[in-house]
């Protein structure tokens, strides 16, 4: 098992390297850099520009060097825990990002839990009652969940939550807690607000998961061992739970890897509409003002998050299913 874990972590390294190269290319692609837009902005406001100061800043951050060198510096600094400097906020990136990243992880985590709690029973029901009215109805609701754009759902829920509960939705917590360190009241406030984004982001993922769980479980239920079990007089619940469901559970865990990118994507859009204190709104702003270290670090963090998610799901799968564990060893 230890060897499998080590092998799996070793595979992550090239993946992360390619991702970092991709991210760097993306933030390098737009013409010009932050300073150019900064100078233009200052000029537009009629303020004088201290070219010397800007030149020295440029040199300090190596903007006069070729891209390849800058990429190497960037990756090297990140490995040492230095994520660069946000020009817009005039703070180190890690300080700007800090809280927002945790909140993104929190929203993603709750969304996955929510998706499972909803999708699991519904998927099982739809598979065991194939072609019943319940099956059709739930499938339709699921499809509509996929079809409604996330941001529309966010707006509509926001409106109705306002009418029915009288609370102003949007943001992840009461504004007075924003700059406070984590304490009991702040946690409570976050919990009060977090359910709306969780429902919105979870809607599409839940629908997809129900469909896949239903398909997988149906495949499993048609296999011969289920027929044998039934013929031997096993109770229906036991026939369902003992083996077919365990196989389906396998797929449930391996699915984290594929739903996590989707959840983070959905969370970004929803965050912008609901003005949540997660990474989404800040990422867009950083991209537009070419605050390259900030944007680059955000993209890296998000990618890192999904890579870690895939790793966790792979490891959990290996614990559950010896076949995967052994395959990992044999390729070594």
């Amino acid at each position: 098992m230890l060897r499998y874990i080590l092998w799996r972590i070793a595979v992550m390294v090239p993946t992360l390297l390619i991702i970092s190269a991709l991210v760097f290319t993306i933030i390098e692609l737009p013409p010009g850099d932050y300073f150019e837009s900064y100078i233009a902005e200052l000029r537009a406001q009629g303020e004088g520009v201290d070219m010397e100061q800007i030149e020295s800043l440029r040199q300090q951050y190596g903007f006069d060097q070729p891209p390849l060198l800058r990429y190497i510096y960037w990756v090297g600094d990140m490995l040492q825990g230095d994520f660069g400097y946000s020009f817009e906020y005039e703070l180190p990136v890690s300080e700007v990002v800090g809280d927002r990243l945790w909140l993104t992880i929190l929203v993603s985590f709750f969304t996955i839990i929510f998706t499972w709690i909803i999708a699991f029973p519904i998927g099982i029901y739809a598979a065991t009652h194939q072609y019943s009215w319940g099956d059709y109805g739930l499938s339709l609701v699921g499809l509509i969940g996929i079809a409604i754009p996330n941001f529309m759902l966010a707006l509509i829920l926001m409106y109705f939550a306002n009418i029915w509960f009288g609370t102003s939705i949007g943001h992840l917590m009461d504004q007075k807690y924003l700059s406070e360190p984590m304490n009991w009241d702040k946690a409570k406030s976050i919990l009060e607000h977090i359910w709306i984004p969780v429902i919105i982001v979870g809607a599409a993922g839940t629908a997809g998961m129900i469909r896949r769980l239903r398909a997988n479980l149906l495949d499993e239920l048609q296999k011969q061992y289920v027929v044998t079990a039934r013929a031997k007089g096993l109770s229906p619940t036991r026939t369902l739970v003992k083996y077919p469901l365990r196989m389906a559970l396998n797929f449930f865990i391996s699915d984290i890897g594929s739903i996590l990118p989707a959840i983070i994507s959905g969370a970004e859009i929803t965050a912008i509409v609901l003005s949540l204190e997660t990474t989404g709104p800040m990422l867009i702003k950083a991209l537009q003002s070419q605050d390259m270290y900030l944007a680059g670090s955000f993209l890296m963090f998000l990618a890192f998050l999904t890579v870690i998610g895939v790793l966790i799901s792979d490891l959990a799968l290996a614990v559950l299913d010896p076949r995967i564990r052994l395959q990992g060893r044999s390729t070594k």
């Binding site: 991709l22 499809l143 707006l155 990118p261 989707a262 983070i264 994507s265 955000f298 998000l302």
Partner: protein, 391 residues
Amino acid sequence: MTSPIPAPGEPLPHYVSTAPFDPYSVEVMTEEQVRVNQASQLRLMWWKFKRHRVALASGIFLAVLYGMILICEFLAPYNLHTRNVDFIYAPPQRVHFFHDGDFVGPFVYGRTMQLDMDTLKRNYTDNSADIQPVRFFCRGDSYRFWGLFESNLHLVCPAENGQLFLLGSDRLGRDVLSRIIYGARISLTIGLLGITVSFVLGIVIGGLAGYHGGVFDLLVQRLIEVLQSIPSIPLWLSLAAIMPATWSPILIYLGITVILGLLDWTGLARAVRSKLLALREEDYVLAAQLMGAKSSRIIGRHLVPGFMSHLIATATISIPGMILGETALSFLGLGLRPPITSWGILLTEAKSVSVIAFYPWLLFPTIPVILVILAFNFLGDGLRDAADPYK
């Protein structure tokens, strides 16, 4: 009682049929069976597809929609940018048939507007004395059909000096229904163009990786894994932010389609690769290789057609993602920009909660989005089932 055995020396009694002998008579099939057995693969697929009623209906629905975008100038009662300054934020008008119990045909009541000076809200009231019959095949706003020739023929138009806002009007007094019809032109084609890009990339890259294997295959697999592990929306956002603000709307439109396609090919490439890995060991590939066919010919002529139907089904299922992606990007202001009008652009008008509270009809563009996405999903399901008709 005679014995069945004849007396010795006498001939055996036997019966010979004079009817012509057909050695295949046992294997003769009914006409129906002949029809099924001789049907081409395409025909079998069509039969199987027809049995999936919802998919068939979705296919017809989509075909009608795509037909509509060819003639949207004619279908829309107003032009895309026609402003009715006197009717800003007018709610949808109801079409009536009877006035005071008499049948008049389809008509709408004229309206008077009053500005509520406290809330600055425009209140429209129906004026039941003012009957404005809806005209059909009539002359209205003039337009250049496909930019080619001038015309002003419309399917429906408002009465002379009247209005017809079946789905209300927006902040500049533009008709929402007309704008939805025009928006379909962009929103529906963006998915098709995007899927074309991703289709070509997927087949070429996946095909080469699967057929040749080796280092190239390894690289491609890694790249696919990486692309699939990065959340798509942030990636779209960053790519969309790259496009310079000086680009013309048409260039932006093309740019967005390329972005959507560039990030979508991975799934297709994976499918192509795994199929090719299995198929390249077949004897007919060996035969082609021995005859000296180039690998591009083997892949394109012999291998890919074998599972084209599967690919098309897969592609159909990924079109909705592109339509949603465009909507989201435009909604955030990173996608298309006016004057190009798509459903996403229309929805940017409904960005704030106050709009939903006061002018809920601006949310109407959501309905075609949902319908189109559902239809593509059903159509894709049906195609996938039909793709393998021998099953």
